[in-house]
C-alpha cells in the first residue's frame, strides 16, 4: 500500500511540496503524534489537523549508512539518516536525510534546518546543519517561509 492510498498520510508530502513542514495535531488535546493515525493516541479524538512547525530542529540521533539495502541507494552511499526533534512539536521525531559537508561534524543535539527543493516526495525535503542562530551552513539552502498558517 502506498501513501497515496492512505488518506491520513497524504498531507505530509503535499505540504512538503508547498515548502511547509507539517505534522498531525489533535485539536481536542493539542498534542502531536507521528506517524499519522485516524485517532489521537493520547485522547482518542478524531479531530486531527495538520499544523506547520518551524522547520528547524535538533538531531536526536543519526547514522552514516555505508551499505545499500536497496539498489536505488547504491549511488548515494554514504548517506546520513537523522532522527530530528522539533521544539514546537514535542514528542515526535522525523526520519530524514541530513546533508553535511563532513559527517565528522555531526553530533547529538546538533541544530539542523529543513531545505525544501523542487522534487516530489522525499526528494523535496532534506536537512542541513544550522548554526544556533538558525542560519544554515550551506549558502544554497532554500529556506522555507515558516510564517505560513
Amino acid at each position: 500500500m502506498t501513501d497515496e492510498q492512505i488518506p491520513e498520510f497524504a498531507p505530509f508530502w503535499r505540504n512538503v511540496a508547498e515548502r511547509r513542514l507539517c505534522f498531525p495535531r489533535c485539536e481536542a488535546c493539542g498534542r502531536f503524534h507521528w506517524y499519522p493515525l485516524t485517532r489521537c493516541p493520547h485522547c482518542f479524538s478524531a479531530d486531527i489537523e495538520w499544523r506547520a512547525v518551524e522547520p528547524r530542529g535538533t538531531l536526536y540521533s543519526w547514522t552514516v549508512v555505508r551499505h545499500a539495502f536497496a539498489p536505488t541507494f547504491v549511488d548515494r552511499l554514504p548517506y546520513v539518516v537523522g532522527l530530528i526533534e522539533f521544539s514546537d512539536a514535542p514528542g515526535i521525531r522525523l526520519v530524514s536525510e541530513v546533508r553535511a559537508a563532513s559527517t565528522d561534524a555531526l553530533w547529538v543535539s546538533m541544530p539542523v534546518r529543513a531545505v525544501f527543493v523542487d522534487g516530489s516526495g522525499a526528494d523535496g525535503l532534506h536537512f542541513i546543519p544550522a548554526t544556533p542562530n538558525g542560519r544554515g551552513s550551506h549558502e544554497d539552502a532554500d529556506l522555507c517561509d515558516s510564517s505560513v498558517q
Binding site: 500500500m1 502506498t2 501513501d3 492512505i6 498520510f9 505530509f12 507521528w34 506517524y35 499519522p36 493515525l37 493516541p41 536526536y60 540521533s61 543519526w62 547514522t63 552514516v64 549508512v65 555505508r66 551499505h67 545499500a68 539495502f69 536497496a70 541507494f73 548515494r76 548517506y79 539518516v81 532522527l83 515526535i92 521525531r93 522525523l94 526520519v95 530524514s96 536525510e97 559527517t103 547529538v108 516526495g121 522525499a122
Partner: protein, 382 residues
C-alpha cells in the same frame, strides 16, 4: 503456576545461509526431530503453538497437523517472530492446564537466506515505514538500530571497544559450539576491520541471515517424567508490549535506550518463577544486533542501566564469565531464526548436553524474544 509443564524434546535443522529447501520441509524436519528426541509419536500431538504473523501464513497449522496425523489439534499464536516463539510455552501451559491439549509442539522457521528481500522486505508490512522512511534509505534493521546505538553512546558512554567485546564474546561461544554458521575466530582487531554497515554498527554487530527451523515439545510434568529425555521445566513466562505501533516503535518511543516491554516481561517471568536476575546461570538473549543484546541485558535486570558495556568488556558474558550469554554464539554467529534456536540451546544447556559449550552446573536459564513493540521472557530450569 496452576500447571507445571516441561520441554521434553528439541529439534532443529542445520543452520545455513541457503538451504535449497522449502520452509515447510525444514519445519517438518525440525518437528519430527523434536518428537523423536522426546520419544513421542507424531500422532500424539494435539497442540501447535507459534508466532502469529510469519508461521500462520507460511507453515500453517493445518499443514503441520495433516503431516503429523494430529487429530483435534489445538492451535494458538502470539505476537510476531521472537516474542511469539519465546512465549509459546505460555500458550502451551494454558492449553495443557485447561485440558485442551496434552502434547504441544512449538515451532518456527525462516527462509530469509533464500526469500527475495529477506528480513528487509518483512518490514514492508508497515505502511508508514514505506511512506516516510524507505524514501530516505531508512530501510533496514541495521540502520534503525544504528540510531539506537548512537543515542545509547551519547547517553551512557558506550564505546566501540565494548560493542566489539560483545561480538568477540559471541564468536567465542560459537567456536565452542562448533555447529553454527560462523566458525572462524574473531579478535577485537578483526572486529575493527569488519565492514561498516550503518555507523556505529559493523557487519560483525549484525545478525546472520539464515534458512532453518526449530521445534520443541511440551507436556505436563507428570507425563514429562515418562519421556526419553530429562525434562526441562518451564519455570516462568512473561509477555509485555508497548503502546506504540510497529511503524513507530523504532523512532517514536519515549527513548531509544531501552527495549519496549523488556523490563515488564522480565518482571512478570521472574514473579511467575519466584526468582530474580541473580538466580540466572546463563541467558540466551535476542541478539539481532550487538546493541539490542546489550540493552536487553540491562532491561531484564541482568545488568544495571548503563553498566552492560563495562560488564561485557570485562568478559561478563563470555565463556567462563559470571553470566554466559548466547552460549551457541547467538544470532551473531550461530544462526538467525528469531529465537527458536535460543530456546533449544537453553534446553541443551539445562540437560547438560552442550559439550564444549556447556555452562558448568547450569540450573536456570533465561531466554528473551523481541519483536518490537512486543517482548517475551522465558525462564527454564533443570
Amino acid at each position: 503456576m496452576t500447571c507445571e509443564i516441561a520441554i521434553v524434546g528439541i529439534g532443529e535443522t542445520p543452520p545455513v545461509r541457503r538451504s535449497g529447501r522449502t520452509l515447510r520441509a525444514m519445519v517438518v524436519d525440525a518437528v519430527m526431530a523434536a518428537l523423536a528426541d522426546a520419544g513421542i509419536c507424531p500422532k500424539e500431538v494435539d497442540g501447535l503453538v507459534t508466532d502469529a504473523v510469519i508461521m500462520p501464513t507460511q507453515v500453517p497449522f493445518d499443514y503441520l497437523a495433516g503431516q503429523l496425523g494430529a487429530s483435534n489439534c489445538f492451535a494458538a499464536s502470539a505476537s510476531l517472530g521472537g516474542a511469539g516463539i519465546v512465549c509459546a510455552p505460555m500458550l502451551a501451559q494454558h492449553a495443557i492446564a485447561s485440558g485442551l491439549a496434552k502434547v504441544v509442539v512449538g515451532y518456527f522457521g525462516v527462509d530469509w537466506g533464500t526469500r527475495a528481500g529477506g528480513p528487509y522486505a518483512f518490514h514492508d508490512l508497515y505502511p508508514a515505514k514505506q511512506a516516510f522512511e524507505k524514501p530516505y534509505g531508512f530501510n533496514a534493521q541495521p540502520i534503525y538500530f544504528a540510531l539506537w546505538a548512537r543515542r545509547y553512546m551519547h547517553e551512557y558512554g558506550l564505546t566501540e571497544r565494548q560493542l566489539g567485546a560483545l561480538a568477540v564474546s559471541h564468536r567465542q561461544h560459537a567456536l565452542l559450539n562448533g555447529r553454527g554458521q560462523l566458525r572462524d575466530s574473531l579478535t577485537f582487531e578483526q572486529y575493527l576491520t569488519s565492514r561498516m554497515i550503518a555507523e556505529p554498527l559493523r557487519a560483525a554487530d549484525c545478525c546472520l541471515i539464515t534458512d532453518g527451523a526449530g521445534a520443541f515439545v511440551m507436556t505436563a510434568m507428570d507425563r514429562a517424567r515418562d519421556c526419553s529425555r530429562r525434562p526441562v521445566r518451564v519455570l516462568g513466562t512473561g509477555f509485555a508490549s508497548a503502546p506504540v505501533t510497529g511503524d513507530s516503535v523504532f523512532t517514536q518511543g519515549s527513548c531509544l535506550t531501552a527495549m519496549p516491554g523488556a523490563a515488564e516481561a522480565a518482571r512478570r517471568a521472574f514473579a511467575c518463577a519466584r526468582l530474580g536476575p541473580k538466580d540466572v546461570d546463563f541467558a540466551e538473549i535476542y541478539d539481532c544486533f550487538s546493541i539490542s543484546c546489550l540493552l536487553q541485558l540491562e532491561d531484564t535486570g541482568l545488568c544495571r542501566k548503563g553498566e552492560a558495556g563495562c560488564f561485557i568488556q570485562d568478559g561478563g558474558i563470555a565463556p567462563g564469565g559470571p553470566l554466559p550469554v548466547n552460549t551457541h554464539g547467538g544470532f551473531l554467529a550461530y544462526s538467525y531464526r528469531l529465537g527458536i534456536e535460543h530456546v533449544t540451546e537453553a534446553v541443551r544447556q539445562l540437560r547438560h548436553e552442550a559439550g564444549r559449550a556447556q555452562v558448568p552446573d547450569a540450573e536456570i536459564g533465561l531466554v528473551t524474544g523481541l519483536s518490537m513493540p512486543d517482548f517475551g521472557v522465558l525462564l527454564l530450569g533443570r
